[in-house]
């Protein structure tokens, strides 16, 4: 029954995505188990100067409303968070969000590498990292940080991706635990949820 061999030691799920990840992200959020026990922290590439609309679009079908955290906002269990436009988003050791306007990384702000890397540092082997479809290599290094700290990594099955560059870059750079279709990622999260109930 426990197909992915999970346990209840995880503290957070971090998800990166870019071009072609929107539909997958919606599917994941709309099928998220009720009262999901972990925070979901998302860094998705987006238009830098459009502050509104994206979080609303993600929220429409999401089981839990998605919010863009303020700087210093505490990370809460069950919260679903999206990196705001034109800011990099990190998590601090005290489990609060930190935003920054540093230079773009991989041509992106928010950069997935920054969010994944900071989560890896804070949550270590208690982190699950998921990387979806995308057209550049942002996120690959972040996934390597997660693997190096003993976290669990998942990339979207490249053949299912609208653009496979991003998951492929991660697969080339580091060990990835599971290569899954979006439907299987949904299954994975359901199974994870069960470990906490």
């Amino acid at each position: 029954m426990n197909k992915f061999n999970l346990n209840n030691s995880y503290k957070a799920v971090v998800i990166g995505g870019s071009a072609g990840s929107f539909q997958g992200m919606i599917k994941i959020l709309s099928q998220l188990p009720k009262n999901f026990p972990l925070p979901i922290i998302m860094a998705l590439h987006r238009l830098k100067h459009v502050r509104h609309g994206f979080v609303e679009a993600l929220s429409i079908k999401s089981v839990v409303p998605v919010t863009e955290p303020y700087d210093k906002e505490p990370v809460k269990k069950g919260g679903v968070y999206l990196a705001p436009a034109n800011y990099h988003m990190s998590v601090e050791l005290g489990h609060t969000f930190a935003l920054s306007t540093e230079e773009m990384v991989n041509n992106s702000r928010p950069a997935i590498d920054i969010t994944l890397g900071s989560c890896a540092y804070v949550y270590k082997d208690k982190l699950i990292g998921i990387l979806l479809s995308g057209a550049n290599k942002d996120g690959a290094l972040g996934m390597k940080h997660i693997t190096d700290k003993g976290g669990l990594t998942i990339v979207q099955e490249p053949s299912e991706c609208m653009i496979e560059t991003m998951p492929k870059a991660a697969l080339a750079l580091t060990k990835i635990d599971h290569v899954l279709k979006v439907d299987q990622i949904v299954e994975f999260l359901k199974e994870l949820d069960k470990q906490y109930k």
Partner: protein, 273 residues
């Protein structure tokens, strides 16, 4: 990529504090660490050689500060914020004072200051306003004084200006010379640029409006609260404080002395001494 642990970061901040009197000990850890790692990479140093360089070559500190601070900025950043300033906040100040004072704390390369002067000019009140623009980083302050920006950045600045719905055309305020936009210096006639450290610096004046946007995100909560205290002291009663759109004062003790006048654009008003 090399990593750096907290003990090493502490050695660096201690040395800088003891030797140069800049205090980064309460900066937000995640971004501070990335900045230091970036410097190590840029300057081809490791922690030991960095400490040695900071200790042995006094001139290096300015280079270090310039790289350490995050100077990324834009003209008319968050155009909606500037519209609220023009349509609500400044008219509110003008009800009580025909002449008033603005402080840009952490002005970086000055785009925010130039934007302010353009807006005040379009409102016909530029001559009535005294502005102070300050930053910790002297290298970037020189760039702010020059008010020249690479044309590469002007596309974004123009877009922001259009969304701000200025009365003219941003091109009216600068001339293009060798790939840089040189802004009309008369715009900045009422601006004094000064080096000022928000952490160790004294309160030096009183203002009707303070802009400190995307600066306190680099501080931890303790430091934020201390700096907010200084802003509180630097504001006239009923003066305004504007912070970045993704910042909030709710985690600061001093927040109770302010009310939110615009939550979307994060503009606060001091209501209690």
């Amino acid at each position: 990529m090399q990593d750096i642990d907290i003990a090493d970061l502490k050695k660096i901040t201690e040395l800088i504090f003891q030797k140069y009197r800049y205090d980064f000990r309460n900066y937000a850890m995640s971004s501070f660490k990335r900045r230091v790692l970036r410097i190590l990479e840029l300057k081809k140093l490791n922690v030991e050689t960095l400490l040695k360089k900071l200790n042995d070559s006094p001139g290096f500190i300015y280079e270090f500060l310039d790289e350490l601070t995050v100077n990324v900025t834009e003209m008319f950043r968050d155009p909606g914020f500037w519209r609220i300033l023009r349509e609500e906040i400044i008219p509110g100040i003008l009800l009580n004072h025909k002449q008033f004072k603005i402080w840009h704390a952490g002005c970086s390369s000055g785009e925010e200051v130039v934007s302010m002067c353009i807006m005040l000019k379009e409102m016909g009140i530029l001559q009535d306003v005294t502005l102070i623009a300050s930053d910790l980083d002297t290298t970037i302050l020189e760039r702010a004084k020059a008010a020249t920006y690479t044309m590469k950045n002007m596309e974004l600045n123009e877009k922001n200006y259009i969304r701000f719905q200025g009365t003219g055309n941003l091109k009216d305020y600068y001339t293009e010379e060798n790939g840089v936009a040189v802004f009309d210096k008369t715009l900045l006639a009422n601006v004094s640029f000064r080096k000022h450290d928000l952490v160790l610096g004294e309160v030096f004046n009183k203002f009707d409006l303070i802009l400190c946007r995307n600066v306190m995100i680099y501080f931890n909560q303790t430091l934020q609260n201390e700096v907010l205290k200084k802003f509180h002291e630097s504001l006239f009663k009923y003066g305004y404080l504007a912070i970045g759109s993704k910042e909030s004062l709710i985690w600061c003790d001093y927040a109770s002395r302010f009310i939110v006048v615009n939550n979307e654009e994060k503009i606060y008003k001091k209501i209690k001494d």
